[in-house]
Structures are given as structure tokens and as C-alpha cells.
């Protein structure tokens, strides 16, 4: 047969270049290095009060909620869905947790903290179940189905909080979003745990195969006996659950729950992270690691804007410019046409 394999020719740089995560990773690296060049202190890490301190740690800690949400979003998108209610679910979970813990200054927690956290996560998962049922059972288009919760969810959160920002005075709760374990923010460990869980679920069970089959061709997967409906519902539940987890981190970090503003526009950031990571919004191809990188890129962008002293009026312009650069860098077609231009130009020069 005319199979041709020449391992000597595909050297490792070539293989690295072809890896789908290469460009997101390179982008992140360039962003960080660029920052380091502009502001030498940016990459510095110090040991302060028993933990690491610096911009890199901040980026990690800040990005944690976005990473969590992006992971859930990736899976939903992989199965040809979309969840725009994540911001609202985050707000609900944060509010539920804060409401159950609340109490006054020094008053301790109203209900036991584990109960509060469990309740918050359960409510979030319930939200996911609701979304999943609307999509799968009622057959609504994902964007409308989740739009309903996106609109009503914040209302529910505000109903719980009575329109107030619920301030939390119970110090043990602060650990989730502010605490450190082994010198690193605790939130990073939460992210790592979820990543580990997903790795096992997708690579050590058949779920990964099923999700990709559903994303590639839902009808064919269904005909092949894959429980496509149950899995799809499960993915919505997971997505909402991870948004709930993010809600715990966020409310713990700012020691309060702001039903109106928590997770505002999170859905856009999460979808942006997912796309930057190389996942196709049309389903089929997805990359969880890519989404993590995407979320880190977004957070680094934000932190960059804050730390290089951009006037706030042009925040958006800078962000737009960076997103354009990032996505063009990642486009194989763009790189090809650039190469074409570079190649053509010297040739043209010789002719003249």
C-alpha cells in the first residue's frame, strides 16, 4: 500500500507546531513576556506571609472562576449546545451561599458552612438540570432555553438577597477564594481537582467518546445507541455546577455576594475562552486544555490592561486589538497567507 511514514522527517518542532494547543500556549507566553518586558516587576514572584505573591498568582487566582465556567461551557458546546446562563447561575450560587452563611460581624455563620456550600452547589446543579430539560425534553434551542434562566436567574438571586449586596463576615468561608495551600491559592487546587475529574471522566470512561460522537453527529450517535439525551442533560448539569463552584470562589474572594453584578457578562468571556482554546462553536472538536489556556489568556489580557495604565476609555480598544491579534495568530489560514506574502515579496523584489 502506498502508506508513507517517515518518522525522521517529522521532527519535534514540526510536531509541536502542528499541535492544536501550540498557538494558544504561544499566545499566552508572548503576552506574559510582553508584559514582563514593559514592566519588569510583572513576572516577579515573592514569598510573602507564607505564600507566593505577584501578578502571576493573581492571574491564576482571578482566572480560576473563568476556567471553571469555561470547562463546563466547553463540554456543552462540544455537544452542540450553548449555555448563556452561567453568569446568572454563578450569581445564584454565590447568593445562596452568602445568604445561608451571612450573619453579622463576628456572629459566626447562620447555618453550617458545609451545608451552605453544598446547598449552593445543589441549586446550581438544579439550574443545569432545568436548562438540560428545556433543551432536550422540550426541544428548545439552547440559546433561548438558557436565555430564560439568564434573565430570570438574576431575578431569583436578587429575590434571595432582597436586592442587597450580602456581605459575609464568617472568616472560614474566605479560605476558598483567598486562602493558600502550599503557597498557592486554594482556588487553583479546586481548578486542578475539576480538571483531574474531567480527565478521568473523559479518558478513563466512555464519556469522552460519547460526547465527541454527539458533537460530531448527534443523530448518528443516537442511532448507535449512545444515550445522547441523558448525556446532554448531564453536560448542562455539569456546566451549571462548575458555574456554581465559580460562584463560591467569587463570593468568597470578595467576601460578599452581589446578585446583580456577580458574573456579569461571564458567558461572553467563557465562550471567548472556549473559542480561543480552539473549540469549534459548531460542535465536534473541543479541547479542555485549550479552554484553560483561553481563560488564562483573557485574564492576562485584563490584568495587562490594568497594570500598564491604559486610560479606561480605551480599555475596550486595547482588548479588541489583542483579541484580533490572538485569533489571527491562531488561524492556520492567516499564517499560510502571511507566509505566502513573505515568500512573494522577496521574489517580487528581485524581478524589479
Amino acid at each position: 500500500m502506498a502508506v508513507e511514514r517517515d518518522p525522521g522527517r517529522t521532527s519535534w518542532p514540526r510536531r509541536a507546531l502542528a499541535h492544536p494547543l501550540f498557538w494558544p500556549a504561544l499566545t499566552l507566553l508572548l503576552l506574559l513576556l510582553g508584559n514582563g518586558a514593559l514592566n519588569p516587576g510583572f513576572l516577579a514572584l515573592q514569598w510573602r506571609e507564607g505564600h507566593l505573591y505577584g501578578n502571576l498568582i493573581d492571574i491564576g487566582n482571578r482566572a480560576a472562576p473563568l476556567i471553571l465556567v469555561s470547562l463546563g461551557m466547553t463540554l456543552v458546546i462540544a455537544a452542540r449546545g450553548l449555555d448563556i446562563s452561567v453568569g446568572a447561575v454563578l450569581a445564584i450560587s454565590a447568593t445562596v451561599a452568602a445568604w445561608m452563611i451571612a450573619g453579622g460581624e463576628g456572629a459566626g455563620s447562620r447555618l453550617p458552612m458545609p451545608l451552605a456550600v453544598a446547598a449552593a452547589l445543589a441549586v446550581a446543579a438544579l439550574c443545569g438540570l432545568w436548562n438540560g430539560l428545556l433543551v432536550v425534553r422540550a426541544g428548545m434551542q439552547p440559546i433561548v432555553a438558557t436565555l430564560i434562566l439568564m434573565v430570570a436567574g438574576r431575578g431569583i438571586a436578587q429575590l434571595i438577597s432582597g436586592g442587597q449586596i450580602l456581605t459575609i463576615y464568617y472568616p472560614p468561608y474566605f479560605y476558598f477564594g483567598n486562602g493558600y495551600l502550599l503557597g498557592l491559592p486554594f482556588s487553583l487546587f479546586v481548578v486542578a481537582a475539576v480538571c483531574g475529574l474531567l480527565y478521568v471522566a473523559l479518558n478513563r470512561t466512555a464519556l469522552g467518546l460519547f460526547v465527541r460522537a454527539i458533537g460530531g453527529n448527534p443523530l448518528a450517535a443516537h442511532v448507535a445507541g449512545v444515550p445522547a439525551r441523558a448525556i446532554t442533560i448531564g453536560l448542562y448539569v455539569f456546566c451549571a455546577f462548575s458555574a456554581g463552584l465559580a460562584g463560591i470562589l467569587v463570593s468568597s474572594n470578595v467576601r460578599s455576594a452581589d446578585a446583580n453584578n456577580a458574573g456579569q457578562l461571564l458567558e461572553l468571556d467563557a465562550i471567548l475562552a472556549v473559542t480561543l482554546g480552539g473549540t469549534l462553536l459548531t460542535g465536534g472538536r473541543f479541547s479542555l486544555a485549550g479552554s484553560v489556556l483561553g481563560a488564562l489568556i483573557i485574564q492576562t489580557l485584563t490584568t495587562t490592561i490594568y497594570s500598564i495604565g491604559v486610560p479606561p476609555q480605551i480599555n475596550l480598544m486595547v482588548k479588541a486589538a489583542l483579541v484580533f491579534v490572538v485569533m489571527l495568530l491562531q488561524s492556520a489560514d492567516f499564517r499560510a497567507s502571511m507566509r505566502g506574502l513573505l515568500r512573494r515579496r522577496p521574489a517580487g523584489g528581485e524581478m524589479r
Partner: protein, 346 residues
């Protein structure tokens, strides 16, 4: 053997014969009909519950107050039909209002010249995004999201404050009311919106461009193999959406008589929702421009219902919008249930 085939065939052809006469009611219009019927039912419920709800002016206000949404949604319908999405529409509206206001109020341009510039800028902007999407195979979501940041950024760059407009021509047009009889009236914007819908319907259903958009949304690879101009059409679709956004921006400028970088915040989501409620599939290829108009009216009606209720706190307002949306979409699904197997995903 041929003789046998022949006899089998004659037997079969009687069965294969399908009713060729035009059916009275084509099932492909069912979703649209259901949506319209539900709209009417919802309006009637409002009429029973609230005094003055069914007054013609309230219904006309639906059009007046949602004219810009309607115009944007027409462009968005084409984008979604082609299998894409355009998140930049709200930002382009904001940019247009600021640009118009700045040109007219600060630079002393004639409004018509400013409008012409704004419309062409919007079109070019949309086309540029379409070019990126088409040429470099970028995902529409990211390109138009960056486009949204850019347009809003540009708007705040021109002016952080809102700029009021008091140019006599602009105010005259803004106050213009077109009587429709019985003491009721319509604004010029509403008329433009209706024209946009009409133009959209013709464009979608009676031109090659429109049918190509549907084909691309149905299957891009097939469209390519059928020899349709996929690249040009895709770019044109985004250009059209850019134009519609700019036109909506002009309408908003008249509606608010001001230019402001924070106008039309989050409008992209409303526009998408309206298109989808109107029965267009987000995955592309199926839907109607006329449905979009109904979608706009439905969203407007929900808001009007809540305004007439008048006792809801802020959070109950949100919950009520969600519940009404849910009811509407659920009923829509229940009535549309076809016998075909529909898998919940996709």
C-alpha cells in the same frame, strides 16, 4: 424480467404519485403561524387583565419603541440563517449614534451627510468582519465579539459623555408622527423598520443572494459543490448586518436625540433572542424574516405587559420576563411538535 418490472412499476407508480395540487396550508409555515397565534393570544390576555392594554396606540408603540431592534434583527436573521452570528450590532449602533451626534453637533455637518457616512461605515465594518471570517476561517463569534469591543471602544473614544442633539432637522424628524387614522400615529422609525422587514422578506425569498444564504446555512460544503458564490455571499451577509446596525443606529439617534457610547447595551442578545423566537434555527438554514418581526413584537409585548402590571419589583420584573419567555417558547414547542424524530441536541 423486464415485463415483470414493468408491471411492478405500474403498480408502484400509482402509490408514488403524490398530491401535486398546491396544498392549502404548507406545514413549513406552521412554526410561523404558531408564533403569530401565540402573540395574539398573549395580547388578548393582556387586554383582559389590564384596562387600555389593547388600545391601538399601545400596539403601535410596540413598533415605535422597538423599531431599532427590528431593523437590527432583520440583519441578524440573515447572519443566523447563514449559520453565523453577529455580536457587534449593539456596539455598532452605539458607535453610529456617537458618530452622528459628534459630526452634527460638534463638527457642524449636515445630518444627511453624516447619516450617509455612518451607513457606509457600518456596511464596510460589517464587510471587514465578514472578510476575516471568510478569508481566515475565524469563528464568527470571536470576530464579532472583538468587533463589538472595537466599536464600543471607538464610541467612547469619540466621546465619553452623551451628546445631545438639537439640530432642527434632526429634531423635526424625531418629532414627526405619521397619522394612521383615528388619532393614532406612527413614527418615521417604525415606518423604516417595517420597510426593512419588507425588504428583508424580498431579499431572503426572492433573490439569488437570499437563497444562497439559506443554502450556506443548510450545508456549506454542498453550497460550494453546487457552485454557489459562498465567499461573496458570506461577506455580504455581514456587510448587510453592519448596514442594518448602522441604520438602526440612525434610528436610535432620532429616537433618543443623542449619541452615547452606552446606548444599546446588550442589544445583541435581544436581537438574537428575537430572531430565534421568531422561529429561525441558530444552526442556520431555516427561518423567516417575517418571523423575526413577530419575535420583536413578542418581546415588546412581554415588556409592555410588565409595564402595565406596574407592581413588580426589580427582581420580580426579571423573573416575570423569564417566565413569560418560558411560557411562550414552551407553547411554541408544544404546538409545533412534528412527528419527525427531533433529537434534543443541536
Amino acid at each position: 424480467m423486464n415485463a415483470r418490472n414493468e408491471s411492478a412499476r405500474t403498480a408502484a407508480s400509482g402509490r408514488q404519485q403524490e398530491p401535486m395540487q398546491r396544498r392549502r396550508f404548507d406545514p413549513k409555515y406552521l412554526p410561523l403561524t404558531v408564533t403569530v397565534a401565540l402573540f395574539v393570544a398573549m395580547a388578548a390576555t393582556g387586554g383582559v387583565l389590564y384596562e387600555g392594554f389593547l388600545s391601538p396606540q399601545v400596539m403601535l408603540n410596540l413598533l415605535i419603541d422597538n423599531a431599532f431592534l427590528c431593523i437590527v434583527a432583520v440583519g441578524m436573521t440573515f447572519v443566523i440563517l447563514s449559520g453565523g452570528i453577529d455580536l457587534s450590532v449593539g456596539a455598532v449602533i452605539a458607535f453610529t449614534t456617537v458618530l452622528l451626534a459628534a459630526l452634527v453637533q460638534r463638527q457642524g455637518w449636515h445630518p444627511l451627510a453624516a447619516i450617509a457616512l455612518a451607513l457606509s461605515l457600518g456596511t464596510v465594518y460589517g464587510a471587514a468582519m465578514g472578510l476575516l471570517i471568510q478569508r481566515f476561517r475565524l469563528q464568527p463569534f470571536v470576530v464579532t465579539l472583538a468587533g463589538m469591543f472595537l466599536a464600543r471602544g471607538a464610541a467612547t473614544l469619540i466621546s465619553v459623555d452623551s451628546i445631545s442633539i438639537d439640530h432642527p432637522l434632526m429634531t423635526a424628524v424625531a418629532y414627526l408622527r405619521i397619522p394612521v387614522g383615528g388619532g393614532y400615529s406612527l413614527s418615521l422609525s417604525a415606518l423604516i423598520a417595517l420597510l426593512a422587514v419588507a425588504a428583508g422578506i424580498v431579499l431572503a425569498h426572492a433573490t439569488r443572494f437570499g437563497r444562497t444564504v439559506y443554502a450556506i446555512g443548510g450545508s456549506e460544503s454542498s453550497a460550494l459543490l453546487m457552485g454557489l458564490p459562498v465567499a461573496a455571499t458570506r461577506i455580504a451577509v455581514y456587510a448587510l448586518s453592519g448596514f442594518c446596525s448602522a441604520l438602526a443606529g440612525v434610528v436610535v439617534t432620532f429616537y433618543m436625540l443623542s449619541g452615547y457610547g452606552l446606548h444599546a447595551l446588550g442589544l445583541e442578545l435581544d436581537a438574537i433572542a428575537v430572531v430565534v423566537i421568531g422561529g429561525t434555527l441558530l444552526s442556520g438554514g431555516r427561518g423567516y424574516v417575517a418571523g423575526t418581526l413577530v419575535g420583536v413584537l413578542v418581546l415588546g409585548l412581554i415588556q409592555t405587559l410588565i409595564a402595565f402590571e406596574g407592581t413588580l419589583s426589580s427582581w420580580w420584573t426579571r423573573i416575570a420576563i423569564g417566565v413569560l419567555l418560558l411560557l411562550f417558547c414552551l407553547l411554541q414547542r408544544v404546538f409545533e411538535r412534528t412527528r419527525r424524530l427531533t433529537l434534543g441536541v443541536a
